[in-house]
Every structure is written in structure tokens, then in C-alpha cells.
Amino acid sequence: MPSQLKKTTEFEPKIVAFLCNWCAYGGADLAGTSRLHYPPNIRAIRIMCSGSVDPAYVLKALLDGADGVLIAGCHLGNCHYHNGNYRAKHRIEILKTILQKVGIDKDRVWLRWIDASEGTLFRDTVYQMVCEIRSKGPNPLRESWKMWQNTIGGWTPQALRLSTGELK
């Protein structure tokens, strides 16, 4: 493992990780106390429940240039607040559908269930995610000003254009 963790000159992804206080954060803690090595690319944010992650926070991270976002909570059925992780599941499903629709890579967002006793699973998840995001390359949303500069400005669908366009 340590040889794979060597610092390289290639692109290093930055990953924002929302970790639920009761499970995933415990898992990360266990990985630490068990001295398991994992890549330092994640920026952990402790939250009380995966169900409290509004898609807006995930979007904000992506739009500000995070290369990946990990949301990790308790396994389904184990939520400390009964059903928060089910809500997270629905929210992230909706988020991913929408990201795909508007042309943002939905696979930069990961939702995983990691128990407080699963330090190794936490390590493996982070390791796997860093590898996959690294192969994707940097998040193109990083350069938002360039994107705005090159917009065509005011696209409207042709099918509806005739009547509304004429009057306005």
C-alpha cells in the first residue's frame, strides 16, 4: 500500500467528504486509530446525519471546483435518526439525475454507507474514490469565468420560439 501512496506530480484530486457523526465519521476515526493509511485527498466535514446534506452543499462544492464529493452515512436501517439516510438516498438520487441532465459528471458524487466499525471500508472507499477521480482529471467547473465568457446568451427552444419570441 505505501508505495501507491507516494506523492506524484500528476493531478491530485480534492474531495469534499460529508461524514455522518454516528457512522462514517466513526469509521474514519477508527481508520485513524487503527493506523490505516489512506490518501490525504479528502477534506472531511462532520455532519450530524447524511439526511442533513442539502444538495445545495454538494453543488456548491462541485461548482467551486471540488473534484469529487463523498457523502457517507449509516447503513440503511441503522440511521441514528430512524430514516435520515433514506432521505439522503432519495436526495442524492434526484441530484444525480439532475446533474446528468445538465451535463455535469454525476460520478463525481459518491454516496456510501460506512459503519463506525468499518475502518477498513472507509479506507478502501477513499482509496477507490481518489483513484477514480484522479483518472477523470480536474473538475471542468473550476474555470467558471471562462465558461460564462463563452456562452452564446439566451438560448430558447426552437419548438416554442415562434409565438412567444415574436411578442416579447
Binding site: 442539502d54 444538495p55 445545495a56 453543488l59 456548491k60 461548482l63 440503511l76 436501517g77 430512524h82 430514516n83 433514506y86 432521505r87 438516498k89 432519495h90 436526495r91 438520487e93 434526484i94 441530484l95 439525475t97 439532475i98 441532465k101 445538465v102 451535463g103 455535469i104 471542468p140 467547473l141 473550476r142 474555470e143 467558471s144 469565468w145 465558461m147 460564462w148 463563452n150 456562452t151 452564446i152 446568451g153 439566451g154 438560448w155 430558447t156 427552444p157 426552437q158 419548438a159 416554442l160 415562434l162 409565438s163 412567444t164 415574436e166 411578442l167 416579447k168
Partner: protein, 369 residues
């Protein structure tokens, strides 16, 4: 439910006004929320009426929708008043209301929903201009417009005298999904079909009569809407390849919040885009500008719209108020209905169609595991 027939003696609207007045007179409702013509018939507004004498300008088939009235019904019922309230609503307003009821923002107790079939609505400015340009007498313009529309839409299959709002042109719900009383536009030329409970029909002395043409005419109009909607969907799907294409659509947005204020589903008292979170200390802007070399101001245009899509799309009823309110005329209806269609298909949920289906995000089913 039975179909009753209300023959128009002279004018359809006059007959309907008498019918609505009877609801108040016979105590079926204590108050009535109904659109009425104002500004010399140039536009219409919702009114809350107590005295049946003040229904002289009422038009339940209002050709404009300045606001999705579900929001008004929410403010009238959220504290569960002990008054019998009748509300005249279009299908998309009923659907939004159903969503608000499920979200705990409105109450069905003591509420009598009077749903109307909908021929579609026009932008407020377009309708006012049309009335201004109308020839001859300036009287009874609402009535004349209604008859004209019914004739051209239901029978000759031609277009309206002025363009419908984009949302209405691709609308899939032109009849109320649920209501206590339904005022029908279709299936009759010289009157109105009213669908209601048998005992209510007796109380109001209505003549019961079958209306065989109703379904056929509805299907005809829906076919046209569906064809156009498919065209729009295909176009948007082809267009949206990268996030740059999404930015093209929103290029002129100034984050004025008009779409959010107009949206009936956006019910938060304080939107978090209007809190201090989005008014950070100046230092932060300078830091962002330094990081990105240049920063678009106001910031967070994409974040705002993507967040709204996330919050709304499961419950979006496609009423198109966002687009009508947009000061930049952005094609928000198109974007929202296309995205919402896919989200709702994934969730197997049709918002506003029944009170029993739970909103997926708040539903919790153990077997999902």
C-alpha cells in the same frame, strides 16, 4: 359524481356567476375565492368574495393566471380556519395545492375545490394588449374572448388569437385531477357541464345529463400538447450536453428571485439564498476573484438554479409561473418540465394527482433496503 348541465341563458359567464352565487346563497360555502375581471376587463385577479352580489365580474375560466392560486389557498388555510371556503382553481393550481397539502402548507378541511377545465392561459401583458386592440364595443370582452377560444380550440383545431404561455402549450393536465365540483369547458357548446356529487346537484336544482363529447375533446387537445412536448423534450435533451450548454440558457440571469417568488412549490418562508450565507463579507469575494482570476457578479447563478431544480423537481407541476415571472424571459418552463419529467419518472411519482401518493423524499419504506 354525476354530470349536470347548466344551459347558458344568453351568456355563459352570467350563468356561471349565478351558479357560483348560489353556492354562497345556499350556504355550501361561506367564502369564495374566484378570479374577477378588473381594469376594464384588461386583466383578472383572484378575489375572496363573501357577498354573492359582488360576483358581477367573476370569470372562473380566467384566460390569465397572474399567480398560481395554490399559494393564496395556502395562506387562507394553513392555520385551519373554521370557515367553509370555496376555491375556483385551474388544474395546475389544484396540483400545486395538493403538493402543498402534502407538505403541510395548506389544509383540505372545510375546503370546497371548484376545479375548472383549462383551455390554457396567456401572459398578462399579451392578454391586456389583445383586449386593447379588440374592435367594436368594449363590453363583455371576457365573454367574447371565451367563446372565441372555445370555438377555435375545441372545434377548428386552429391556434388561439394570441400565443398561449409555453407551459400551457405543453400542458398534460387540462382537466382537474381532483375536485369537489368541476366546471367543464368541453363537451358542450351552448352551456357548461358541471360534474359534482349527486346530493349537491339536487340541492342546487341542476339537471343531470350525460356528456359524451367531453373525453373525446380532451383527448384531442392533449394529443396536440403531447406532440409539442415531445418535440421540446427532444430539443432540450440534444442541447444539454455539457454544463456550458446549461450556462447558455442562464447567461442573462441576474438572480432576481422572481422565479422563486412565483413558484407555488417554493414555500420556505426564508429562502436560504436570501440569507447571510449568500451575503458573505467582502473579503470572501476578493478571495474567490483571486482564485478564479475573474468572478461573475452576482455570484452563484448556476448554484441557485441547480438548487431550485433539486428542491422542486419532485413536486414540479409545470405551471410555468417561473417563466412568466422571469424578467429576462429565460426558458425556465422548458428546463424545469424536462428535468422534472425525468426525475419524476425515476421516482415513479406524479405530483399533485392524488392525495394518497406520498412525496418520495418524505416517504420512508423499509423494504427499500
Amino acid at each position: 359524481m354525476v354530470d349536470a348541465y347548466l344551459k347558458a341563458d344568453g351568456e355563459i359567464l352570467k350563468t356561471l356567476r349565478r351558479f357560483l352565487g348560489n353556492l354562497l346563497r345556499k350556504g355550501i360555502v361561506d367564502y369564495l375565492l374566484v378570479p374577477q375581471e378588473i381594469s376594464h376587463s384588461r386583466t383578472l385577479t383572484q378575489t375572496l368574495v363573501k357577498d354573492p352580489a359582488h360576483l358581477e365580474n367573476a370569470n372562473p375560466f380566467s384566460p390569465v393566471m397572474p399567480i398560481n392560486s395554490a399559494a393564496i389557498v395556502s395562506s387562507l388555510t394553513s392555520d385551519k380556519p373554521k370557515k367553509k371556503l370555496g376555491v375556483v382553481l385551474k388544474p395546475c393550481e389544484i396540483r400545486a395545492l395538493v403538493e402543498l397539502i402534502k407538505l403541510g402548507q395548506a389544509s383540505l378541511d372545510n375546503l370546497v375545490i371548484i376545479g375548472t377545465d383549462c383551455l390554457g392561459t396567456f401572459e398578462v401583458e399579451d392578454y391586456a394588449r389583445y383586449i386593447d386592440d379588440m374592435e367594436h364595443t368594449k363590453e363583455k370582452m371576457g365573454e367574447r374572448f371565451l367563446i372565441e377560444c372555445r370555438q377555435s380550440i375545441v372545434h377548428s383545431d386552429t391556434d388561439y388569437p394570441i400565443p398561449l404561455r409555453p407551459a400551457c402549450r405543453i400542458c398534460q393536465t387540462i382537466t382537474p385531477p381532483l375536485a369537489h365540483i368541476i366546471l367543464s369547458q368541453f363537451g358542450s357548446d351552448d352551456g357548461v357541464i358541471i360534474r359534482l356529487e349527486n346530493n349537491l346537484a339536487e340541492k342546487l336544482n341542476l339537471e343531470i345529463r350525460e356528456s359524451p363529447n367531453h373525453e373525446k375533446q380532451v383527448a384531442q387537445i392533449l394529443n396536440r400538447h403531447t406532440a409539442l412536448r415531445e418535440k421540446v423534450f427532444t430539443e432540450v435533451r440534444e442541447k444539454m450536453e455539457t454544463v456550458n450548454d446549461f450556462a447558455d440558457v442562464l447567461a442573462t440571469c441576474t438572480r432576481c428571485y422572481a422565479c422563486q417568488s412565483a413558484c407555488p412549490i417554493c414555500y420556505c418562508r426564508i429562502c436560504f439564498f436570501r440569507t447571510e450565507t449568500f451575503e458573505p463579507e467582502s473579503e470572501r469575494y476578493f478571495r474567490w476573484a483571486e482564485k478564479e482570476d475573474a468572478l461573475r457578479m452576482p455570484t452563484e447563478i448556476l448554484l441557485y438554479h441547480l438548487t431550485r431544480l433539486n428542491h422542486i423537481s419532485a413536486s414540479c407541476v409545470g405551471c410555468g409561473m417561473c417563466e412568466s415571472a422571469c424578467s429576462r424571459h429565460l426558458p425556465l418552463t422548458t428546463i424545469f418540465t424536462t428535468v422534472a419529467h425525468d426525475v419524476q419518472k425515476d421516482l415513479q411519482y406524479q405530483p399533485g394527482m392524488s392525495l394518497e401518493d406520498e412525496i418520495p423524499i418524505s416517504a420512508f419504506k423499509e423494504p427499500e433496503r
